[in-house]
């Protein structure tokens, strides 16, 4: 019952997001949809994804979208052609029907990856299966993922016309004394939460991505408040921090090749410690990359203004 209600809520929120004439309202409904999706992930017994969805899919994406919306020119209400409505409804419906048919026809799964995972879990160095998959068995994915994040950042930097980030990094936006005071009060709490999420990832839901997202949120709030380090220091820290996750991961991954093993084989004695070290660097890098993506976006508005 509750599942059906959640699915109906998802669909109606998605349709409202797409059909409401006001762009700001559409974004608010999109953020609401993210929160509802978080509940759905909890119902699907996936607390890790729920954490990531709440922090990344809803929080960071919402901030980025809202920040972009302020820069967009105000445009008229939706004007769509009749033929296009027809094609949109037709293809949407047929995709849904085809997917549903495929889902109901789903064949039995011949390969039991989950049993292999449970059998091999002791060798991975961590006791939480998702962290084991992300950082040991399928560490290749995670290595490439941090590479994709870096690529997005570099591409974003390439899109800039003029580059003078030194003075722009300390641009205060919200001169609100209450926000500043409470941020000073809660920043240690946010850092503590990020560290806890990172530490908890070894044996329960949590891990580098969620911790990185919390870290990025803390950085973004600091940036919006105008709390900043000295520009020179923060510039160097940013450059090093953005790269450290990928580089450390790559070094650890390829060091096993020196010993004649394949890429990404950890020595089983220190697998847990190595994973924690990589996760620490990843958290720091993910936090800084997401923060840089936000500031890059933010600066573009300033240039156009």
């Amino acid at each position: 019952m509750i599942d059906l209600l959640l699915v109906c809520g998802l669909w109606s929120l998605a349709l409202t997001t797409l059909l409401t004439p006001n762009a700001f309202r559409a974004l608010v409904f999109f953020i609401l949809l993210g929160l509802l999706l978080t509940l759905v992930w909890i119902r699907l017994d996936a607390p890790d994804i729920a954490l990531a969805e709440a922090a990344l899919g809803t929080g960071i994406t919402g901030v980025l979208l809202l920040d972009t919306l302020k820069q967009q020119p105000q445009h008229a209400l939706l004007c769509v052609h009749r033929t296009r409505i027809f094609w949109a409804v037709f293809s949407g419906l047929s995709l849904t029907l085809a997917l549903s048919w495929a889902l109901l026809q789903a064949p039995a799964m011949p390969i039991a990856l989950d049993q292999t995972l449970t059998a091999q879990l002791d060798a991975s160095g961590v006791s939480h299966p998702i962290t084991a998959v992300l950082l040991n068995f399928r560490a290749y994915d995670t290595l490439l993922e941090i590479g994709v994040l870096l690529l997005a950042l570099f591409a974003g930097q390439g899109l800039h016309e003029r580059q003078h980030p030194l003075e722009q990094l300390s641009g205060a936006q919200l001169h609100n004394p209450f926000l500043r005071a409470s941020l000073a009060l809660w920043l240690p709490g946010m850092l503590l939460l990020a560290t806890y999420l990172l530490w908890a990832g070894a044996h329960q839901p949590g891990g580098a991505f969620q911790a990185g997202a919390v870290l990025a949120a803390a950085f973004i709030l600091m940036h919006l408040c105008g709390l900043a380090l000295d520009a020179q220091v923060s510039q160097h820290l940013l450059r090093i921090g953005v790269l450290v996750g990928f580089v450390l991961f790559l070094v650890v991954a390829s060091s096993s090749m020196l010993a004649g093993q394949t890429l990404l084989t950890y020595p089983s004695a220190w697998a847990g410690e190595l994973i924690l070290l990589i996760e620490l660097a990843l958290t720091f890098s993910i936090g800084l990359i997401l923060f840089s993506l936000f500031t890059l976006n933010h600066q573009m508005r300033k240039e156009s203004a």
């Binding site: 004439p21 006001n22 700001f24 309202r25 609100n176 209450f178 926000l179 409470s182 809660w186």
Partner: protein, 111 residues
């Protein structure tokens, strides 16, 4: 029979707290939809929802047996109160200082 009455009392008290908390959330949402301007909307939302959340947390605490879960629920309550205070303040502050660009534009009347 000895333990029946306290259990019933506890369950009904819990139900009462949870239901009244839910009702307060509904009232807050009605206020959000019906009030005319940003400040009164924020007022309706923060006031009613904080009380509603408090009641729900109280009801849930009655249902748990472990101290750890109860403390976690209290922590959630405190954090949400803090967050809603801050966000409510920020929305109202923004609305006061930027009257030209309203955060919630007028919707079409036939909606």
């Amino acid at each position: 029979m000895e333990s029946f009455l306290p259990t019933l009392l506890l369950t009904s008290l819990q139900g009462l707290l949870l239901i009244s908390g839910g009702v307060l959330f509904v009232v807050g949402s009605i206020g959000l939809l019906r009030f005319p301007d940003t400040c009164s909307r924020v007022h309706a939302l923060t006031k009613a929802d904080n009380l509603g959340l408090g009641l729900i947390v109280l009801g849930l605490i009655l249902g748990t047996n472990s101290l750890g879960v109860a403390l976690k629920l209290l922590l959630i309550w405190l954090l949400v109160m803090f967050a809603s205070t801050l966000s409510g303040h920020l929305v109202a502050w923004y609305a006061c200082y930027h009257p030209a660009e309203k955060p919630l534009p007028q919707e079409p009347s036939d909606d």
